[in-house]
């Protein structure tokens, strides 16, 4: 069968509120799992404070998002291939005053992202915190994934993020990934609890995309700069990632 001429790219923003919850690990592994399913995926590292994706993949790139925001470079010129089978727009670390400029150019970046041809999905990996940049990228996306774990600080930050996006910008559709749960049941319970609070105070329910159980393979793969779904595709975590990627691959813009 002939491929459709115009594929609509789905932009997905992966965020958490609190740092260190596993956004970047999830982004990289979801992207790789999607690539395995034959999807064309672009990951945009939107963490301008502390870029992570390139480090996680052991990539060193000459040009980064910084050149797009500050210079005349287009996104196309910055994109690099990764061993994970997906493409990457690396971020720049430690650039201050990015927020101000980004704000002015976010429309342009959005247009650039939308005009990129041939991608099925674009995953935006945002930084921690509820900064303007993070919110802008969240608003830009078609779908918002929030990564949470059982820690109270993480739940509160994620909830605050949802509340702000809902109250100020009217977003009321979020997909939740519960990370580092003890087991399947705990993942469900954390989600249901979180969901019940959202329903009670904000009036809408959340979607449970999946849970990742605590797994020693995860820190090991990060240490080795490996992508888990590639290095050990039959591990529990890799299989969870693959099933979540399956759900993502069915999303439409």
């Amino acid at each position: 069968m002939k491929a459709r001429k115009k594929k609509k790219t789905v932009i997905v923003c992966i965020t958490s509120g609190k740092g260190g919850v596993g956004k970047t690990f999830l982004t990289v592994n979801l992207a790789s799992a999607l690539a395995k399913k034959g999807k064309k995926v672009l990951v945009v590292d939107c963490d301008f404070g502390l870029a992570n994706v390139d480090i996680m993949l052991g990539i060193r790139s000459a040009r980064t998002m910084k050149d797009v925001v500050f210079g005349e470079t287009t996104l196309q010129d910055v994109i690099v291939n990764t061993p994970g089978g997906f493409d990457l727009v690396p971020a720049c670390s430690g650039v201050r005053d990015m927020a101000q400029l980004l704000y002015e150019r976010i429309e342009m970046i959005k247009e650039m992202l939308l005009s990129l041809e041939g991608y099925d999905l674009i995953l935006l990996d945002t930084g921690a915190g509820m900064t303007e940049v993070v919110l802008q990228f969240n608003l830009l996306a078609n779908r918002n994934i929030l990564v949470i774990n059982r820690e109270l600080t993480c739940l509160t930050d994620a909830y605050a993020m949802i509340k702000v996006l809902y109250q100020l910008f009217g977003r009321d559709s979020f997909d939740i990934i519960v990370n580092s749960s003890m087991d399947e049941k705990e993942g469900d319970r954390i989600f249901q609890h979180f969901d019940s609070i959202c329903r009670r105070f904000l009036g809408f329910s959340l979607k449970h995309l999946g849970s990742l159980r605590q797994d020693e393979d995860v820190p090991r793969s990060i240490m080795n700069q490996e992508i888990l779904v590639q290095a050990s595709p039959h591990s529990r975590t890799a299989e969870s990632c693959a099933s979540m990627a399956g759900a993502l691959s069915r999303w439409r813009a």
Binding site: E107, L168, H193
Partner: protein
């Protein structure tokens, strides 16, 4: 019980008198010579008779005299009213909402519509935006090509700018070479896009070899922020000033709107926090 008045359709005496007065007034109003004569003091019955004879040639002398007397009787009162009407007209002109030169809306309208749109914002919760645009080197056009050419520039460019806005936007001439743009139900990011388009359009104009640019100051009205109308207008004005100071041909606006909005957002309440905490207690033992 009062006697019921029969409605016959026939005119009463008072009615007839009013009719007569009306027709006289019409004669006077329609006839510039008579109204001029009255205005000049209405001296000399003969003069009035002559005017009337000219205007109503078929009427007999006696009727003309009666008309003249009636006109004189009405005259004093009427002159006062004519003068009053003229004064009102003058006032109405000054109350007008369009700019005489360009035919666009004027500053009065802009301020008025600003009130309407901010009220709408408060009701709907949607933000609206305004921009003040000022040409950077309009003086050069005026100086080198003359004032009439400057006026022509403002008129034509003004109308072309209006064509480049959305149908819901308002473009007003605030005075001189300063224009105001009101964008209802628009966020700052979109408004900046619109301003950028205008700015580009202006840069592309070559008016008799004069190249011109524009500086634009922008402001967003957020109903959650409780900013007064004056403050809203001043915000844009301050930004225009900044755009000029920073080297002209640029768009300036107060950044960090999202951050300001975030500060205004309701934080996570204690009750919500408490409930979020509960899940921890249910964690299974290892």
């Amino acid at each position: 019980m009062p006697k019921k008045q029969k409605i016959t359709g026939k005119k009463t005496a008072a009615g007839k008198k009013a009719d007569k007065r009306q027709s006289l007034e019409n004669i006077i109003k329609k006839n510039k010579m008579i109204s001029d004569w009255l205005r000049e003091g209405g001296a000399g019955r003969g003069e009035l008779l002559m005017i009337l004879t000219e205007k109503l040639p078929k009427t007999d002398r006696k009727k003309l005299e009666r008309t003249a007397d009636a006109v004189i009787e009405l005259g004093a009162d009427l002159v006062r009213r004519i003068i009053e009407i003229e004064r009102e007209n003058k006032q109405l002109r000054s109350l007008s909402l369009t700019d005489e030169l360009t035919g666009l809306y004027n500053k009065r309208f802009f301020k008025m519509q600003l009130g309407v749109e901010t009220a709408r914002s408060k009701r709907t919760g949607q933000t609206c935006c305004m921009a003040i645009l000022d040409f950077d080197n309009f003086k050069e056009i005026n100086d080198s090509l003359g004032h009439s050419e400057g006026d022509r520039f403002l008129t034509e460019v003004g109308l072309l700018m209006r064509d480049r806005l959305r149908p819901t936007d308002f473009l007003c001439r605030l005075g001189g070479d300063e224009f105001g743009i009101l964008m209802p139900a628009t966020g700052l990011v979109d408004a900046i896009g619109i301003a950028r388009r205008l700015q580009q359009f202006i840069t592309d104009i070559h008016w008799k070899k004069c190249i011109t640019t524009a500086s634009i100051g922008m402001a967003e009205f957020d109903p959650a922020e409780k900013v007064s109308l004056e403050e809203f207008f001043n915000l844009a004005d301050i930004e225009l000033y900044r755009a000029k100071k920073d080297g002209k041909n640029r768009i300036s606006y107060a950044a960090g709107v999202i951050e300001r909005r975030m500060a205004a957002a309701e934080p996570v309440s204690l009750r919500e926090r408490e409930l979020l905490l509960k899940v921890k207690g249910e964690a299974p033992r290892k």
